[in-house]
């Protein structure tokens, strides 16, 4: 009996902590989403129960659908482009050459630099008047005149997506690299003897063996991209004219800038519902891949 308690004493503090500060707030958010909350009753907690009213308001709000569409676009392009580039880089740095280890790890700087700082740097590089990006593109002759990337409703979403792709590349690369390293070289031997081309080896050996890693990466990336906040906050604050508004930013804005707390809570629950779907997918994948010991 004592021994049993001793075993639990290792894990209990962490679990209790996560329950108080993660699980309880999560449940509390569901509670808040059914209430009519304003600044006066937010902390006191005597807000009236209004059923599904907050959800109805959100679902009848055109901005919700606009931001949802933009979130999907933002997430889709981030995932496709950063995973593709990540795969190319992982294959390249998986080759044996002097300095490859050092190079792979230095790439992680992009992932590690605070997003607020990366956002600021990209804002400067994309500056309409003096930004280096405009400068280069005009000099090379790809563009006739500079573009105000972040203040033009046609280009702002593209610009923040590119920034987010840049941020996501190192993570994709490292995860895919660990997958590639898990493939033993002998599996390629028969194909080499049979004279298979590089493309055939990639298509029929590497790709199938990498599918589990790629799918885990895509699910994780989807969850991470769906909750992106900092990039939008520092670069565009959802503008111009809501053209970079995404669900997670909108939810925060509703609560903390517009003080429509109940609706903010309802929207984050809707977002969580979408994320939870993919989270469950991820957990099942991970379990399948590496059977919990």
């Amino acid at each position: 009996m004592k021994k049993r308690f001793e075993n639990y004493s290792f894990v209990l503090p962490a679990i209790v902590f996560l329950m108080i500060f993660l699980l309880y707030p999560f449940a509390f958010n569901i509670y808040l989403s059914f209430r009519d909350i304003n600044i006066g009753n937010l902390v006191q907690g005597d807000s009236p129960f209004i059923g599904l009213e907050n959800y109805k308001t959100i679902l009848s709000e055109p901005l919700f659908y606009k931001s949802l569409t933009q979130t999907v676009i933002f997430t889709f392009f981030t995932l496709v482009v950063s995973t593709s580039i990540g795969f190319l880089l992982a294959s390249y740095f998986n080759k044996a050459f002097p300095g490859n280890k050092w190079m792979r790890s230095i790439m992680l700087l992009g992932w590690m630099t605070p997003i607020i700082i990366v956002g600021t740097i990209f804002k400067w590089m994309l500056d309409g008047k003096y930004g280096i990006v405009n400068n280069m593109l005009v000099n090379i002759g790809l563009m006739n005149s500079p573009i105000n990337w972040l203040s033009d409703i046609d280009t702002a979403l593209f610009a923040v997506t590119v920034t987010n792709i840049w941020l996501s590349i190192p993570f994709s690369m490292i995860i895919l690299l660990s997958g590639l390293q898990g493939i033993p070289t002998y599996v390629y031997e028969p194909a080499t003897i049979d004279g298979a081309s590089r493309w055939q080896k990639f298509r029929y050996i590497t790709l199938p063996l990498m599918t589990p890693t790629i799918s885990i990466l895509l699910i994780l990336g989807l969850i991470y991209t769906f909750k992106v906040f900092d990039v939008i906050y520092i670069m565009t604050a959802g503008g111009p004219a809501n053209s970079t508004q995404v669900v997670s930013y909108l939810a925060y804005e509703l609560s903390f800038n517009l003080f429509r707390f109940g609706e903010g809570a309802a929207l984050s629950n809707l977002a969580l519902f979408i994320i939870a779907f993919f989270a469950i997918l991820y957990v099942r994948k991970v379990q399948k891949e590496s059977v919990v010991h």
Partner: protein
């Protein structure tokens, strides 16, 4: 052999292209204010520390922000290791009932979006008097990083041989004593990875700091960046100098622990 060096050279080009934004931050920060808009060469024509001086001498509480960020990051690191190291061990080794569920629970909660928890945490912290408190942000940041730390550490424990612990338990050591004196030293690389992660992620954390720290003198450096635009307009030279200075701690820690980080990152996500 020559082919290998060609690979290295091209690798170097890839790294340089990818890290260009970081380079551009440093390059801009070193240009004289007067040349920032006119000198558009990739390599600055003239180098000066003017922008750095601006930040440190003007009426901008740079050091206060750095200190607050430091307190938060150290707090999160210590907290994560204190709670995470034993928990991960229990989940790796002991046969406690329901450990599969506990692991699932941790896998799922690590994916909760922080902006979703900002509102309920704000309400809870208001009641507990944790608004405008660095301790509040430490707790909030721990919810973001602790699950990941547990997952990474668990794989480290799984990699050490069971015999060692068996020997310890035959010697009649209590579980906790065996843990501290035998197990922990064996997973030092794992602990180091987790410490570096916790520090780096909480250094860059923005949303919780933004939500819970309303008072200017409590701000972290990421919050201070936002204030800077308001105070100095778009003085990009100083802005980039500030960015460079505030990423410095991250870069130092990264350089010191880079050997472990890549491995840790993938073991937490895939294994």
């Amino acid at each position: 052999m020559r082919k290998k060096w060609a690979l290295s050279l091209f690798g170097l080009i890839i790294v340089a292209v990818y890290l260009f934004p970081i380079y551009w931050m440093v390059a801009t920060s070193l240009k004289p204010t007067s040349a920032i808009f006119s000198d558009i060469n990739i390599i600055p024509a003239q180098i000066t520390l003017e922008s750095y001086q601006n930040i440190l001498t003007q009426n901008y509480p740079f050091l206060t922000y750095m200190k607050n960020s430091l307190i938060i990051s150290v707090g999160v690191t210590v907290g994560n290791l204190l709670l995470g190291a034993p928990a991960a061990y229990a989940l790796a080794r002991t046969r406690i009932t329901g450990y599969v569920w506990l692991i699932m629970f941790i896998l799922i909660v690590q994916m909760f979006p922080s902006n979703m928890l900002a509102l309920p945490l704000y309400t809870i912290f208001s009641k507990l008097g944790l608004i405008n408190s660095l301790f509040g942000v430490i707790l909030a940041d721990m919810t973001l990083t602790l699950p990941f730390v547990i997952l990474i550490l668990r794989t480290s424990y799984l990699n050490i041989p069971v015999d060692l612990e068996d020997a310890a338990s035959i010697d009649g050591c209590g579980k906790w004593r065996a843990f501290y004196s035998i197990i922990l030293p064996l997973v030092r690389p794992g602990l180091l990875t987790c410490a570096a992660f916790s520090f780096i992620l909480s250094w860059g954390e923005f949303l919780y700091a933004l939500t819970f720290l309303k008072q200017n003198d409590m701000w972290t450096i990421t919050l201070g960046m936002r204030q800077f635009v308001g105070q100095f307009g778009t003085n990009w030279g100083s802005m980039m100098a500030l960015s460079a200075l505030s990423s410095l701690p991250i870069i130092i820690i990264f350089m010191a622990t880079q050997k472990y980080i890549a491995g840790g990152l993938s073991s937490g996500a895939v294994k």
